[in-house]
Assembly symmetry: C2
Homo-oligomer: 323 residues x 2
């Protein structure tokens, strides 16, 4: 540390009590009181999710601090996207082993930049001493009754996925192999995932059920199917495979990353086959592909996977960390 | 561990996805989806606060798990009380070094019991692996415009405090000295503080400014005065001193605990002198004393403290932990 150590309160005041991004009439009391006080939009419901990111469990301890800040918020916002909610307010609880002002400054910058870009007012925070971890609570709003639940999938629905899952898992592998160029598209996919907020809102009224892919396409599809009491038939040949992956890896490996790799935070959803073109049109306006990868059927479980594919059901974060 | 180890998801499902305490029409989607979805009360604002409790920073690692669960929620609910908000919804992010089912069961029980008793639906959670820590986000509601802010204190106001601050600090000392009888009133004050939610609601419309005492009466009074741009004149002789403290300690020591001890989560507020009897009447109905301890004056700082008192401005949690 090149600067004098700051007390906890000075740290909070300096970096974690940022303005909420201009005058927001919905924020009656912002940072600096016992609570933030917010004015909700009449006729809307509030969606809330909390996600904790722990050093060397959810991100490498030596990841760039701005990426850690971005990522901690992105994984929480992704839950709002999966619900079809518009991002509104966020709080962050940061646990730090020691006060490193440069680190906190960069971390806060990464968090704040994504918050501003997502329309999410940063309304409160808390700093404590301990193992590096970030716990983020996000709040979104949606017109009453319009939430995209996990439980709405119906037999006959098409199963579709946004973007190209598998890139982030490949990016994490590259990081672990020593790659440090943050502009590398795979590394960027891992370090700075883009929550699909606009896509989630665009899919309201079309998708019957949705989930964000944090654990891997197959693992999260299983959550979706279980919540809906139905089964899935995956069409492996239809999986969208990212160009930077196909350029360097065998198809079989790319497919395994797409099925089992988490951390991309793409959306997985089901909808009427007749609504697929409209959904694709809406997402194309956001420069986001939407690919049909299977079909909802009666029963339970996931069909269409080989035993090899099934072995990659769910991504094991940092398996080298002893549990 | 006497039972088979559970996976993270099994743990969440078994202990941290409790029912929200009966049919709550305001909880449209509870645990188990990407987000909880809530229906706010028309005409109300939402108060939000987040608090992280870290092992051996905010509580002893060997404290009873039910007390850790209670305490983690209580300190967050206390912020709602200080705002005059009614508790509505809470989320908890738990970080655990290892899966110990008995520990999690007792922890969840302590958390859930206080949540139910406070009318606070437990709507979501997250479990991750790491150093023991609990991050709680609480949401309350209050009629629009009625929040008790820190910034409303006016010269001439009486400064008043609920209950008997100092008991929790004495309880922590007892714990550190080896006392383990949880029914001891001082230990109970530390391990299971009671958030003053009903008092906070009762003080709406009377208190000009309020804060909860987490860092100590003097330290939090300083926050209140700074936010309001005024000064305080404390009347040390008027401090309410708890009977179990006076019975065993010298008056000087009790006073120091009352001024500097945190962790009681009493409310500190200012109001018109003419409103003090009505405020005392309302709190007496809750079996809670309200004692005038000073006066708001023009200027800045806190007057009426001796140099010895000032040395105890702010409680140092676990000073033996190296920072």
């Amino acid at each position: 540390m090149t600067r004098a150590a700051l007390s906890e309160f000075e740290l909070i005041a300096r970096y974690l009590s940022r303005p909420t991004g201009g005058e927001r009439i919905d924020v009656a009391v912002g940072n600096g009181d016992d609570c933030a006080v917010l004015t909700p939009t009449p006729g809307h419901q509030i969606a809330i999710s909390v996600d904790t990111s722990v050093s060397d469990v959810h991100f490498p301890h030596d990841a760039p601090p701005a990426a850690i800040g971005h990522r901690a918020l992105a994984v929480a916002l992704s839950d709002l996207a999966a619900m079809g909610a518009r991002a509104r307010w966020c709080c962050m609880a940061l646990t730090l082993p020691a006060v490193d002002e440069d680190w906190v400054e960069a971390f806060a910058e990464g968090f704040q930049t994504l918050a501003l870009r997502s329309g999410c007012a940063w309304i409160g925070g808390d700093v404590t001493r301990g193992q590096l971890a970030v716990s983020v609570t996000v709040h979104g709003e949606l017109p009453a009754g319009s939430a995209l639940k996990r439980s709405g999938a119906k037999p006959g629905d098409v199963i579709a996925v946004t973007g190209y899952p598998g890139r982030a898992a490949a990016g994490l592998e590259r990081w672990q192999q020593g790659e440090r160029d943050e502009t590398h598209p795979l590394l960027a996919a891992y370090l700075r995932p883009e929550p699909r907020l606009a896509a989630g809102e665009a899919l309201r009224g079309l998708a019957h059920a949705a989930i964000d892919i944090s654990d891997g396409l197959v693992a999260d599809l299983r959550h979706l199917m279980t919540a809906s009491g139905v089964a899935a038939r995956l069409e492996i040949e239809s999986l969208p495979l990212a160009t930077p992956l196909r350029a360097t890896l065998e198809t079989e490996t790319v497919r395994r990353l797409a099925l089992g790799g988490g951390d991309d935070y793409e959306l997985l959803l089901t909808l009427n086959e007749s609504d697929l073109p409209e959904a694709q049109r809406r997402l194309a306006a956001l420069h986001l592909p939407l690919t049909a990868v299977g079909r909802v059927v009666e029963g339970d479980g996931i069909h269409g996977l080989s035993p090899t594919d099934l072995a990659h059901d769910g991504w094991d974060h940092f398996p080298e960390v002893a549990s």
